[in-house]
């Protein structure tokens, strides 16, 4: 649960930190990848199809995300943030209809590949292999992101652009292209989350909205623009949800929102956020 949300939240946070865009439509890309992956399993069967989808579906989501950034979001930079949110909302409406048109109204669960079915007993519950797989992917991505951002030259450029896009532009880095690349990369990350999640939770209409709001809670708790914040945030949200389900199943979501409001009141920019990135 926390794992795929981390992938989504990390992408969201990355876009906000670097491109300064609150991509409300992020979860739609997540859902898009899940649907595409489902189509792959239909076409090639559950065994091979899933792995095709695992590799290709996030890439398709990423390419589409980059295209959308170039075509729509890049036109509203510097016009305040409300046009961005409105554009993203329009995108959500459109993509949701695309899902309805192409994949119908019924939720689509991806058939489990042989290797990932089954699970291990752990602390009284069972941890399915699909969950372990999701955790592994998320952990690998978290490590990869860390190494990328802090150990490579490209990562340094990304951090520079996040800190001050104008100066970064001035020293000869094409920030516009960087923005598109980051957007595409973040959508790829989100798509990966969708593909991993689709094994446990079916892709469904309106599911993107639900997951979007949870991802937002994570990013807000962790702090916008902070990858570490996203990681801690998804752990907190995962734990709170699990505990909430144990204690008072129906109010798990209420706890989450109350927690978010409390954190925002005390630390307006989240646990790891910086004030006023604008």
């Amino acid at each position: 649960m926390g794992a795929n949300l981390f992938l989504l939240a990390a992408g969201l946070s990355l876009i906000f930190g670097v491109v300064s865009i609150v991509n409300f439509a992020h979860a739609s890309f997540y859902m898009l990848a899940a649907y595409i992956c489902y189509s792959f399993t239909l076409r090639f069967g559950a065994e091979i199809g899933y792995w095709w989808g695992f590799v290709l579906a996030p890439i398709i989501a990423g390419i589409l995300g980059g295209g959308v950034e170039r075509l729509l979001f890049s036109r509203v930079y510097g016009r305040g943030h409300y046009p961005q949110i409105v554009v993203a909302w329009g995108l959500i409406l459109i993509l949701n209809d695309v899902f309805k048109l192409l994949w119908g109204r019924e939720p689509k669960l991806i058939p489990m590949p042989e290797i990932l079915s089954g699970g291990v007993a752990l602390l009284g519950g069972t941890l399915s292999y699909a969950q372990i797989f999701g955790i592994c992917v998320a952990a690998a991505m978290a490590l990869g992101l860390y190494l990328f951002l802090y150990k490579t030259r490209a990562g340094k450029i990304v951090r520079a652009a996040a800190a001050d896009p104008e100066i970064t532009d001035a020293v000869g880095i094409d920030v516009n292209r960087l923005n598109t690349a980051i957007f595409a990369f973040a959508c790829w990350l989100g798509g990966l989350g969708g593909v991993v999640a689709a094994l446990q939770k079916p892709a469904s209409l309106g599911g993107d909205m639900e997951i979007m709001l949870t991802a937002f809670i994570i990013v807000i708790i962790g702090g916008m623009g902070s990858i570490l914040g996203s990681l801690i945030g998804s752990l907190i949200v995962g734990v709170i949800t699990a505990l909430g389900i144990l204690v008072l199943p129906r109010f798990a979501l209420v706890f989450l929102y109350i927690l978010m409001v409390l954190i925002l009141i005390n630390r307006p920019y989240g646990l790891f956020g910086k004030p006023e990135l604008r």
Binding site: G80, H81, W89, G90, L91, D97, I217
Partner: protein
């Protein structure tokens, strides 16, 4: 005779007054000419227009992008529907208490949210609205959860769609006039000053946060009123009233109509309703149509429909109105 010539002189001073009177006459006469479907549609339009106008007090007038008005709308509806359906208090009493409580709540929410600025403000308003939505959804015993509340008993007066229409029309018209007065009062101009440049406004001695909070509260008052009317209109309350989609309805209306105009949100609301009712009849894919419209308006008509028409008219009609300052916010 004297009255008539008086009327003609009154109109003669400002030609647009004739338009207002004509529109008022149309709204009063037409329910006697058409069937219930249209009466109900126009009543819904009036409520939505009020919602959009209330919202635009915050977005267009003060320059704050709130995401949480769906929550306030739902709050208004449920604060009316719950006590009345449970038989705790009568409808007229609940009408007043609901609007007052929603206003109070929006003061509280605004107080918290306005500690933040920019995008963080928007997100915190969304968080509060989601909190309201989740609370409505989960406290089944009181709110009926996702089944909603139905069977709101209304006084015999409202039983006829036509009388109900006139009641809604009266409340909305009154609110419209009030919002108009607020917009053009010193208070309204202070809000505009904050929107244009909040730092400069602060330098002139305006307590920016206090004015923003007042604007948010006033907006919450009218939003609650719209929610209450909608609960009466639908004879119940549903959890969708507080959803994110609901929060986006006035955003759509205000932006498509034009945020810097008075009539923009009203026109936008009509546009939106027409879209969902008539396009919705041909295809189930009308949300994507509205998505395309929304994106196109943001990219190509940032001033909205009314704002664009107004500036075109101004260009055609010469610069007569330029004396009122650049970027005239009239009409």
């Amino acid at each position: 005779m004297g009255l008539l010539s008086e009327l003609i002189r009154w109109i003669g001073n400002r030609p647009q007054r004739l338009g207002v009177i004509l529109i008022a006459l149309i709204f009063i006469i037409f329910p006697f000419l058409v069937d219930i479907f249209w009466i109900r549609l126009v009543a819904e339009f009036a409520i939505l227009a009020l919602f959009a106008l209330a919202y635009n007090l915050v977005l267009g007038q003060t320059g704050l992008f709130s995401f949480g008005h769906g929550g306030l709308f739902g709050l208004g509806a449920y604060l009316l529907a719950v006590p009345v359906i449970k038989g705790m208090i009568s409808l007229p009493f609940a009408f007043v208490t609901s609007v007052l409580l929603t206003t109070l709540m929006s003061y509280g929410i605004g107080w918290f949210c306005l500690r933040l600025t920019g995008i963080y403000f928007s997100i915190l308003t969304l968080a509060f609205s989601q909190l309201i939505w989740v609370a409505i959804w989960k406290f089944r015993g009181i709110t009926g959860g996702d089944d909603g509340l139905i069977g709101l008993k209304v006084p015999a007066l409202f039983a006829s769609p036509r009388y109900q229409y006139f009641f809604i029309l009266a409340v909305v018209t009154l609110s419209l006039v009030m919002i108009r007065i607020i917009n053009n009062s010193p208070f309204g101009f202070t809000l505009k000053a904050i929107r244009e440049n909040s730092r400069r406004a602060a330098f002139t001695g305006i307590h920016v946060k206090r004015y923003q909070l007042m604007a948010f509260t006033v907006s919450g008052f009218f939003t609650g009123l719209a929610g209450v009317l909608f609960a009466i209109f639908t004879r119940g309350a549903f959890v969708e009233f507080a959803s994110v989609s609901k929060s986006f309805e006035p955003v759509f209306a205000a932006i498509v109509g034009g945020v810097n105009t008075f009539s923009g949100p009203v026109i936008g609301a009509g546009f939106m309703l027409a879209l969902s009712h008539f396009i919705g009849r041909f295809t189930e894919y009308w949300p994507s149509v509205s998505g395309v419209i929304l994106i196109s308006v943001i990219l190509f008509l940032p001033a909205g429909i009314v704002g664009t028409i107004a500036s075109l008219a101004r260009r055609v009609g010469g610069d007569r109105e330029k004396v009122q300052g650049q970027g005239v916010k009239e009409q």
